[in-house]
Symmetry: C2
Subunit: 374 residues, 2 copies
């Protein structure tokens, strides 16, 4: 028997992976993943990329793309600069790099609960213990023992779709400053905005703590390109670059060039408005179908942005049982328990509304309603 690292003990077959393989069967309606609508993708009608991009490139990324991103981050109030932007092979990679930077076995990471499950998995894999963040009083327990890092998705959070208030954002920034806690803000959904909503980055409020802010082009350009970015405070940025170099040398240069074309496209703002309108419409259709079929069986808040509804079941059936029965009828979703840092049961389910057609949303939600009614 091969001798493997202790961390492989945590590499359970993911229930989500199993579900996603079912999701690919023809005729299955999946609310389980977080796939953007293909209608939202930027097109591929670009001139041929420069041939010199075929050579190895800099670990940090292409200078023009880094400068463009730094300018946009500065406009959000973040203390960024072109030489402090690191291009990532998708923002999942930023989570891996941050975990490597911070997490020794037993290190405490403060997280929301529920939180993005693939971030929880990575932190757990490196041996993190979790402390659940209280948004109204984040430093409640930090006097005794501050965590090594706070990981948050304050804007259109996955899975809840919610946004932190300005007060909550300031409170977290101040808590991190006061206790020297690294703030890691994950912000992949900020441009998928359907109603006015507080979106000022928490990192823009930090004065002295170390911080990492990351974003993604998966939702605004296309996920298949695997392109994200991070910026970080001066003390830790160089370490993240070295971790990136050890992880995959640098990110695909053709993708970087393509994303730069999209960012410089005169039609960009109009395209993002069309994407937001498309998703707003999909969200509203989904909300109406939810009301029709689960209105008396569950509660939810209409998300002001992002890709998900977080729906709390009334108690007639637990989410795992519902999922089992729904799978038999070709409908998938993700049970809320997968997003809990502390583990245990959760009465909620996460429903993705960006991928399904209106007809599939109607049919899938009607099926869930029928099952819940027994």
């Amino acid at each position: 028997m091969a001798r493997l690292s202790t961390r492989t003990g945590d590499l359970h077959a993911s229930p989500v992976r199993e579900m996603l393989s079912i999701a690919q069967r023809p005729g299955v309606i999946s609310f389980a993943g977080g796939l953007p609508s293909p209608e939202s993708f930027a097109g591929l009608d670009l001139p041929p990329p420069p041939r010199e991009l075929l050579q190895y490139g800099p670990t940090e990324g292409e200078p023009e793309l880094r400068a463009k991103i730094a300018g946009e981050l500065s406009a959000l109030g973040i203390d960024s600069a072109p030489d402090r932007v690191l291009i990532l092979s998708g923002s999942q990679q930023g989570i891996d790099l941050a975990a490597k930077l911070v997490v020794d076995p037993g290190a405490v990471v403060a997280v929301e609960s529920p939180a993005y499950l693939a971030a929880l998995q990575v932190f757990r894999f490196f041996g993190a213990r979790f402390e659940i963040l209280d948004r109204t009083d984040p430093a409640a327990t930090w006097d005794a023992a501050p965590p090594a890092m706070a990981y948050v998705t304050p804007t259109f959070q996955n899975p809840t779709g919610g946004c932190w208030s300005a007060t909550e954002r300031r409170a977290l920034a101040q808590a991190c400053d006061a206790h020297d806690v690294i703030l890691f803000e994950d912000d992949p959904y900020r441009d998928l905005v359907y109603e006015p909503c507080e979106r000022r980055p928490v990192c823009a409020e930090v004065k002295s703590a170390s911080w990492i802010y990351q974003g993604s082009f998966s939702k605004t350009v296309a996920p298949g390109l695997r392109l994200g970015f991070l910026t970080a405070s001066e003390d830790i940025f160089p370490l993240l670059v070295r971790l990136k170099q050890a992880a995959d040398l640098h990110t695909n240069r053709l993708s970087q060039w393509m994303v730069l074309q999209y960012l410089n496209d005169p039609d960009r703002a109009a395209r993002m408005e069309r994407v937001a309108a498309l998703y707003r419409e999909k969200r509203d259709v989904f909300d109406e179908a939810l009301t029709r079929h689960l209105g008396d069986l569950a509660t939810w808040t209409v998300p002001p942005g992002g890709l998900f509804f977080w729906v709390t079941l009334g108690g007639a059936m637990d989410p795992e049982t519902l999922l089992k029965k729904a799978l038999e009828r070709g409908v998938l979703f993700t049970p809320g328990s997968h997003f809990l840092a502390e583990g245990g049961a959760c009465p909620a389910i996460r429903l993705n509304f960006s991928l399904a057609t209106p007809e599939d949303a109607e049919r899938g939600l009607r099926t869930l309603g029928e099952i819940l009614r027994g």
Copy 2:
């Protein structure tokens, strides 16, 4: 001061990184990196890729590409299959995944010395201790305490350019089988072959041990696409897929599609012959210039493949002093000590011959000779 993981103590500013930034200054002649010649790259004149590749894709990679690679690996004698090929964001990523799979702090990894320095860095970063592999008797010390893994680059090794004999390959496979040591074979240079040479993968000889075999398209297609692959024994392959998912979800799909086009290109074999001819010519020109300028000051073996000369200096000057003086005159190389698993001094230097023009090779090597002569 932010609380960082203990492993960040190992994130020294890399002397190689510093050198590479100097290498980009105009007029500098660099033998330091491992950059392929741009003349070797496959072209970009491809039809537009299918639009569905813009969506998220499978963690394992595109099915057609996996099948194509599995077929070629089977032809090499490796026990591969399409569902046991994992597409990587460059083969550096395979090293990160293997380290995560195997290396707990204090775990022993058996390596050649010298060995690929970015692999040593990653293993060290995860807390590995190194044992130097004796090619003629790999299991010499394994009865008492076998290592967790053996990492080798038996074909056109970086930095030495050498190839293991058939006997040495069989001995390592048998040692891994007998002591249940995971064999990790890194094979990025196998298609850059200039003279007949033993190239049968060691993994093709393994009977019972766990194993990982990885390859790269950086030298046969283009490095900017960041595309590599691994295949592994059935027991550990699923764990590597989950580690890949946690690292970056999946590899860029457009690159995967592009590489598949190149692999299916009817001109592929002829193109690889042209690439080998180009590099053989560059190697011979480099060898002649070496003989002219360092013939009486150093010794080397002409490499039968790969991208490097490994040149042992006669003792007139140590490589670090030579590098310092060479940098002042705009010439770069990598001192051999960087490749030693055990650390310490090394009288050799690594010279890359694939990038420099014949004129730059001549001028750069003449400069090194002049410095060595005082």
